[in-house]
Amino acid sequence: MRMSLWEYANPKRFMGWTAPVLPVVFGLAGVCLVVGLVWGFFFTPDDYRQGSTVKIIYLHVPAALMAINAWIMMLVASLIWIVRRHHVSALAAKAAASVGLTMTLIALFTGAIWGQPMWGTYWAWDPRLTSFLILFLFYLGYIALWEAIEDPDTAADLTSVLCMVGSIFAILSRYAVLFWNQGLHQGASLSLDPEENVADVFWLPLVVCIAGFALLFIALVLLRTRTEIRARRIRALEARVRRA
């Protein structure tokens, strides 16, 4: 009976506690982003090699981190759905996907903008950029599968399986791309590695920006999960009216 209690209570309980939490998370995210970005853009020195272009890391690095974290969150949520049949978790995975997709796009665009002055081209088949492009395709497929299936529980099941299998192949692709690029260029000469390029003075505002992006990610996922729960509730109510 414990199981059925979980299933019955959780979407409602989730709606209950997220209602007051959501504005707080949005507020904190806003504060962190404003502080981190203003600090990073206007109160740090220009890099001796890269000039002011380096400052795009305050958008690029946090977005890239969140792009990966969103997929990891989807994987965990999918596992919880498969094991516990916990509706909120399936819907949270669905909610995280489009946020993750957006973060991947931001990372790709800022990477291209950064690449122009650094490499003289907007796009290079750098292993890291390529990996994000592949991640983008994984997000597209996952979201398309959610959209294509009518029955929400079937969609949750199938996307969960896809997410698990996709995770394995995403990791494989990451290493395959490293292998492939080394094969072409004899070692990565174009690196976007922040550890190599970023001096200590840039780190603190970067950490604040990462915190801001993480909070923004949480807030957006909560908001979208709430929307998905409401959509399911409407569906359930409509079904009940039809049966009555």
Binding site: A9, H87, D153, L237, A239
Partner: protein
């Protein structure tokens, strides 16, 4: 022996039947009745294990169940014999000559299934049940597009071979097969709008 206890089954995540309970003893058949959409197909698919029950259970030897509906898995590019031999192979049984006679397929043995008439195709689909040697059959409208003669052929096989050999069958049908079998009207088991277990329940 098939024992169904307090079964609730759903179509598209919505409960359609609840509290279904019945017993069928070895050598017996049960005819399911009820208007279209009451959930006969859903019940049969649930019993056959193709979809999970929301509540309750159906007890029978798990390796003895077989399901048949109008979609009977006949490959039009295979001959009648090849179609049956495939299912015999999958089920680890031997395709005997008798089965062709029983279902009046002797003259059609080497015909491509694609060239058969609708009724002949149905006989082939039903002959599969005689080939696979399963004891507990869940049949969904087995006599669609069969003429009177073929219906009698099938009813005879069901009565004289399957049931006489200790088999069980649960049959959803609109026509009279002429079996001395009890009937179960599913209308009283129609799930009330507030019955629990649907996939959307957690959101209400």
């Amino acid at each position: 022996m098939l024992r169904v206890q307090n079964l609730t089954c759903a179509r598209g995540g919505v409960p359609v039947l609840s509290g279904v309970s019945f017993d069928v003893a070895a050598g017996q058949a049960l005819i399911l009745r009820g208007p279209n959409g009451v959930g006969k197909t859903t019940l049969l698919r649930t019993l056959a294990g193709l979809q999970p029950a929301l509540a309750g259970a159906a007890d029978y030897p798990q390796d003895q169940g077989a399901y048949a509906s109008h979609a009977d898995g006949i490959k039009t590019a295979l001959t009648v014999t090849e179609n049956l031999a495939f299912w015999a192979d999958v089920h680890g049984t031997i395709l005997s000559d008798g089965i062709f006679a029983t279902f009046d397929l002797v003259d059609l043995r080497d015909r491509m299934a694609g060239t058969l008439s609708a009724g002949q195709k149905r006989r082939l689909g039903l002959a599969r049940l005689g080939v696979i040697g399963r004891k507990v059959l869940f049949l969904d409208e087995p006599t669609v597009s069969l003429d009177g003669f073929s219906v009698r052929l099938f009813a005879d096989w069901l009565q004289n071979t399957h049931l006489a050999g200790g088999g069980i069958s649960v049959i959803a049908t609109h026509i009279d097969l002429g079996l001395a079998a009890p009937e179960l009207d599913l209308t009283p088991f129609k799930a009330a709008p507030d019955v629990g277990g649907g996939s959307d329940e957690a959101f209400l």
